[in-house]
């Protein structure tokens, strides 16, 4: 098992004819994702990387009797319309890749998603990858690299930093630790599925035995995970690292989400909440594999 996506999920790519869409559809297909087709209004009838292009999401949904997920690769100002189109057409999982989507557009997408029972990941996400099954987005960049870097196993990974999603997953693999699904939740301050939602999904996945989380300063996602552990909703061990220890209040390092406002979302607050709840919080990022091994050993004894 895995979460959110596997080899059977029927996937489309919105913006498939653009620079990134073209490139990443290749990655997805070659990795094993069941890419049904793409959508670019006005370019229906064309073909990209061997899959057909349609003018609207509704057409492709009808033709293939439902679509499970859409990866959105359109320029940020057009994301809102593309996402709402997919949601209304009945797609239940969206991956919103672009950076710099206006926050009020995200709020509108969120409201539509809620009303139609859809989920979305991102914006500003590298994507999700279920090892040896499917990738949605651009994790790994090329199928060959993705196959080489990420090993199959029973650890779920969730991260707020795109680069770190791959880095952490790669370093775990190098230490003989395999993975179920890896998720980049997105770097923005309002995102569809924050850590706490992903962790709940990992809890339900029978194959995932341990969860690794890369947190960051800002927002309350990590505190929420601590709550879930505390109230028993999450019982699988969580190994966490929080980035941004050195950042002073008010500064922001690229990620819109990584901003500390007042006392909310501080490094110290997050570490304290997670430790008190019983999560394993590591000080150094490179200690994650070591601690994962130790926890695995502890649990098997």
């Amino acid at each position: 098992m895995s979460i959110l996506i596997d080899e059977n999920s029927k996937v489309i790519i919105q913006g498939i004819t653009g620079r990134e869409g073209r490139n990443r559809s290749k990655l997805m297909k070659e990795y094993g994702t069941n890419v049904i087709g793409g959508v670019t209004p006005g370019k229906g009838g064309q073909e990209v990387n061997g899959v057909p292009v349609f003018d609207t999401v509704a057409e492709i949904v009808e033709k293939y009797n439902g679509i499970d997920a859409s990866a959105i690769f359109v320029p940020a100002p057009l994301v809102k319309d593309a996402a709402i189109e997919a949601i209304v057409a009945g797609v239940k999982l969206l991956l919103i890749v672009p950076d710099r989507v206006p926050i009020h557009d995200v709020l509108e997408i969120a409201q539509y998603a809620k009303e139609c029972g859809a989920k979305f990941i991102g914006p500003n996400t590298l994507g999700i990858l279920s090892v040896d099954k499917a990738v949605l987005g651009m994790i790994g960049g090329k199928a060959k690299s993705a196959k080489e870097w990420f090993k199959k196993g029973n650890v779920g990974v969730t991260s707020r930093s795109g680069g770190i999603t791959s880095a952490m997953s790669y370093y775990l693999g190098q230490n003989g630790i395999g993975l179920t699904t890896i998720v980049h939740v997105g770097g923005d301050s309002v995102i569809g599925l924050p850590h706490n939602e992903i962790v709940k999904l990992f809890q339900k996945d029978p194959e995932t035995k341990l969860i690794v989380m890369f947190g960051e300063i800002g927002s309350s996602q990590e505190e929420k995970v601590a709550e879930l552990i505390k109230n028993g909703e999450v019982t699988k061990p969580v190994v966490a690292y929080i980035g941004g220890k050195g950042a002073k209040s008010g500064t922001r390092f690229s990620h819109a989400g990584a901003i500390v406002e007042g006392n909310k979302g501080t490094y110290a607050g997050k570490v304290k909440a997670l430790k008190e709840a019983g999560a394993y919080v590591v000080d150094s990022f490179l200690d994650i594999p070591k601690v994962v091994k130790e926890v695995n050993k502890e649990k098997s004894e």
């Binding site: 709020l107 651009m138 960049g141 795109g162 880095a167 050195g246 500064t251 490179l286």
Partner: protein, 517 residues
């Protein structure tokens, strides 16, 4: 987050139909007198800063006469709040206030909705209001598709004790404020106090609006110089960097200076990250080795080589750095040779004089490191490339060694010497620059390395010289991704007859200025 001044905020509120006091922002005492005479004394004079709590700083004063006004203005223009000088004052007619309210809208990340916060006791900060008069306060999450309706607000207003005669008027003002928030792409909008005047009008006596960085593009009318938050005015170099980012949507380029006036011998590192998370860890590695960070920079999200080149040129516009450290997540999805070529072009043009360590782990890192080794070997300083199995700490150790080897010499910024583009007789524009070829030089060049190195097939050989294989317009639109491969190939394998001109607006003048100082 782009903050607006009160006077800007008030003009937005006005546009959405919210009443604001009669008045005007002024930049000098003379102007202040004219405005005051026009609207009539007594007036209120308010410093224009991005910070809240101005009253506590003494930045809000009343003036009953020209003399009082002059004195107040003189004092205010001498004030400094944080790192900012006071450049503008808002002069307004003094209101006769009967009651004060608080109205604020923020974005609730957990609920993914705008939240309205209202209190029938305005004036002080919302934290104090919440503590002292919790019964005066309500918050309400708004459905953005439906919008905010009066029937939703009125029962809540009644609960917190708003006078029944005011209900309709207050609800309608709140809705207008909400429309102003949505309509201006604000992350937050606060008016504290919103007041009831003796004349029975509801007026926004203050306005504090923060615009969403990502929504700024929809509002050129706000005149926001840099759509990013700063706790001080942006430096000249930051403004130059922001222009690069603004005019090129491909990938992300973010630059700010942590220290502007760098002293030599203080061990500053020019920092160039890729991706927020990896950058933060890499900066920790710099700090651990007891170096100071001159600047933060991030080029990520698959930027073209040209953007990385420009970032490097900007980083190298900081005198006295002793080393250059590029380090991102370590396992990047993007093809790393793009960044490598950006570094090569920049370092060659600058004849780099401080050592550099570039941690380029990720896709095609072998090719990227190979590019560095091949083309930067002849510099007077060492440039080392590392991959995904090398940690930031390890790479920083290496840079530390190189800096010591180099005698901790600090970087000298040079003037930009531009090539004369008239020397090239075949040229075409790319998205952010131009490719210039001298056909006299390259006629019958046996290597044809420019054409061969172009993975996007935009060049072909015709009559023994390279020419465009596609339409000029398509090149400009982005079919040429400015990967810089042709220039580097021609320089090292061909006859050095091709030059890619990538101007950085304002950088030449900036360098002229700082090299004079």
């Amino acid at each position: 987050m782009a903050k607006l001044y009160e006077f800007q905020g008030k003009s937005i509120l006005q546009k959405f139909g919210v009443a604001v006091p009669e008045g005007k922002a002024v930049e000098g005492i003379e102007e202040a007198i004219n405005v005051s005479n026009e609207i009539g004394f007594p007036v209120v004079v308010k410093i224009q800063t991005w910070s809240t709590g101005r009253a506590a700083l003494g930045g809000v004063q009343f003036a009953n006469s020209i003399d009082e006004l002059k004195e107040t203005c003189e004092n205010f223009f001498k004030m400094k709040v944080g790192n900012f000088n006071i450049e503008r004052l808002l002069i307004e007619k003094k209101l006769n206030i009967v009651q004060e309210f608080f109205v604020g809208f923020i974005i609730n990340g957990e609920e993914k909705k705008p939240t309205l916060i209202f209190s029938s006791k305005g004036g002080s900060g919302i934290e104090e209001i919440a503590k002292e008069y919790p019964e005066s306060l309500f918050s309400y999450n708004i459905d953005v598709i439906r919008g905010l309706k009066a029937y939703e607000i009125i029962p809540l207003l009644i609960k917190v004790g708003v006078d029944k005669k005011l209900l309709n008027k207050m609800a309608s003002t709140i809705i207008k404020l909400y429309n102003a928030m949505r309509g201006s792409d604000a992350r937050s909008l606060e008016t504290n106090p919103l007041v009831l005047t003796e004349a029975g009008k509801i007026v926004a006596a203050d306005a504090h609006i923060v615009i969403d960085d990502y929504g700024v593009f929809r509002h050129p009318e706000f005149g926001i110089e840099i759509a990013r938050e700063f706790d001080r005015p942006p430096t000249e170099l930051e403004k130059i960097a922001y222009l690069v980012e603004k005019n090129d949507y491909r990938g992300t380029f973010y630059f700010f200076q942590m220290n502007e006036k760098l002293k030599s011998e203080e061990n500053y590192i020019g920092f160039h990250g890729a991706g927020g998370g990896g950058s933060m860890m890499s900066m920790d590695a710099v700090a651990k080795k007891n170096y100071k960070i001159a600047n933060f920079c991030d080029t990520s999200g698959n930027p073209p080589a040209s953007k990385v080149y420009k970032a490097a040129k900007i980083i190298l516009s900081q005198p006295n750095i002793t080393g250059y450290f590029a380090s991102g997540s370590g396992v990047a999805s993007q093809e790393q040779f793009h960044s490598a070529r950006g570094f090569v072009k920049a370092f060659l043009e600058e004849s780099l004089d401080v050592p550099a360590v570039l941690r380029l782990g990720g896709n095609s890192e072998e090719i990227a490191i190979d590019i560095l080794n091949k083309y930067l070997g002849n510099l007077n300083v060492k440039v080392l490339g590392y991959g995904k199995n090398d940690s930031p700490d390890f790479c920083m150790d290496k840079l530390d060694e190189l800096i010591k080897e180099n005698g901790k010499k600090s970087h000298r910024v040079k003037k930009i010497k531009e090539k004369n583009l008239d020397d090239y007789n075949y040229k075409f524009e790319t998205m952010t620059g131009s490719i210039n070829i001298d056909h006299n030089v390259c006629k019958n060049c046996p290597t044809q390395s420019c054409v061969k190195s172009c993975n996007y097939n935009i060049l072909k050989i015709e009559d023994g010289v390279p020419v465009l294989a596609i339409e000029k317009e398509d090149v400009k639109k982005g079919k040429c991704i400015e990967c810089l491969a042709c220039e580097i190939a021609c320089k090292f394998n061909g006859r050095n007859g091709l030059y890619i001109h990538l101007p950085i607006e304002g950088l030449k003048e900036y360098r002229e200025k700082i090299t004079k100082e």
